[in-house]
Symmetry: C2
Subunit: 319 residues, 2 copies
């Protein structure tokens, strides 16, 4: 498929083109930044929803239910399932296959799993690019679901406009743990499996936490009860999600976040390009090889050498 | 404590100075690169041993046993316990406290835990710096133990000369999972809790895996059986660890790895410094602010703008 055809295919919402582009993103193909540059103008329309929470809190089922509800409201969906799976425990992505079954015949639901191929930083980057691709393909909603529950998953959902943090009734210790890094990123708390005993207690606990949490925001995260098995509470949850987007728009937070994200992205791209430029000049030169040898021998420290090489590089740009 | 005093303290192996420096590293204090630059010449002597493996495979107990055995051979030890704990599950670091008890009175054992304060990339960086600090303080051995078992932990132990991957007798499924990302990083496999049924089977399984693994190395990772509770097999394990270092030296792999690490580190430092230089020039200029607004509005894509700003930055270095 030529690059132009691929771009055309993605923009007209063709599944195969979109799948192909995400594969290129995963492979870090050199064509990706060119393609994304051309798609860029057509992005920024989708509502990106992140779903994260501890293992066993029913994230997959919840995402399937959300999809059904959002579809019934006439919205088109892309699902990116992120699995920075531990190399020890693997990552079965079973949820992915289940979802595929339920929505397999629906052309307006695009599902894709992404795992780590290499470094974690790469996963955040490629997830963000994949979300952009789905956005360009015209999906109204992009659901970003994490399989695991580590710091990296949290970073991944931070690209979302609305972040759902799931939990289940049960051990109060979880709350303590969640406090640490999650309070700040949750826009909506979801107490899933609400038919289990202790659901109301859990809601009360989270609300108590929210009462004492320092907040600069005008949005107080609602605490919703859902049951992924029966579908109870899902419609109300979707109402809250849409409410949150309305808040983001009216408060100016959406615009502010958009500027912040543009700034971060511009910086990342410049960092990448500038470093590549520097390394192209240095790589393989006798001076660079010599510097590395001296650092390895502990003749000099890398900080001093770095300073020297950069000064020289910047001076050389005069030529 | 003044910078010079701190450096002097670290170099003479003072615990308080070392602990203080690692705190500065964790805080990303601006003095860190200056201090590490001065310590750099005094590093490169310690044997760095990484210990990773699935939760419940007895890594903490193993590290305590290894410490006792290494101490009995007259070696001094630093232990860096890395916990990029999930914000959902917390990280108790109980193992740390247990170890502290056993070796609390031994001045030649330095123990320190490190967690994520912020981004994962930061943890790999700060762990690497902390290991360097312990090295500069003159410890013969640095044990880097991970609490979790995710991709990030694997990245962290990659700074080690010798990587131990622990496992326990039991479910054969684990093997499949371990295959994925771990085969390549293990220098020694440790089947811990070897008194449990199935230990020999586990050893056979790992060996079978190794038989079919593609390898360019001359070192075939041995599969050792240990019992953290009784201390069985620990002495043999330490023999193998020392054997591995002897191999690294005689084969030239140690020298090669040292060069590679020097190169990686030099590149990272240059990337950081160069980006900071660029951002100092751009930040707050009307041109930069305008660019961000246009990207957010989707008037232009960030790739094109990045190219333009970099070209201008490099040209401006002529002045």
């Amino acid at each position: 498929m030529s690059e132009d055809k691929l771009i055309e295919g993605v923009l007209s919402g063709k599944r195969r083109a979109l799948a192909r582009l995400i594969s290129l993103i995963e492979d870090e193909d050199s064509s990706v930044s060119r393609i994304l540059a051309k798609l860029y103008r057509h992005t920024g329309k989708a509502h990106i929803i992140g779903v994260t929470g501890p293992p066993g809190s029913g994230k997959s089922t919840l995402v399937t239910r959300l999809t059904t509800e959002l579809r019934s409201r006439g919205l088109t969906i892309g699902i990116i399932c992120v699995d920075p799976s531990s190399p020890f425990t693997g990552g079965a992505l079973l949820g992915d296959r289940i979802r595929m079954q339920e929505h397999a015949l629906d052309k307006e639901v695009f599902v894709r799993s992404m795992g780590t191929r290499g470094h974690l930083g790469g996963l955040a980057r490629s997830t963000s690019d994949a979300v952009r691709a789905v956005d360009a393909a015209g999906k109204d909603i992009v659901l970003v679901e994490t399989v695991g529950a580590g710091q990296s998953e949290v970073e991944v959902v931070e690209i979302a406009h609305t972040v759902l943090v799931t939990d289940v009734p049960g051990s109060g210790d979880d709350i303590q743990a969640i406090k640490a890094g999650i309070m700040e990123i949750a826009d909506i708390f979801v107490v899933n499996k609400a038919d289990l005993p202790g659901a109301d207690k859990k809601v009360t606990e989270i609300n108590a936490m929210l009462d004492i949490a320092p907040t600069s925001d005008k949005w107080r995260p609602p605490v919703m009860k859902t049951n992924g098995r029966t579908g109870e509470g899902i419609s109300e949850l979707v109402d809250e999600i849409q409410e949150h987007m309305a808040y983001l728009k009216s408060s100016g937070v959406l615009e502010h976040k958009g500027l912040q994200r543009s700034k971060d992205e511009l910086e990342q791209i410049m960092e990448y390009k500038l470093t590549r430029e520097l390394m192209t000049k240095l790589q393989g030169t006798p001076e660079f090889d010599q510097a590395i040898k001296r650092i390895a021998r502990r003749d000099v420290d890398p900080y001093t050498i770095a300073e020297r090489l950069i000064t020289k590089f910047l001076a050389s740009c005069r030529e």
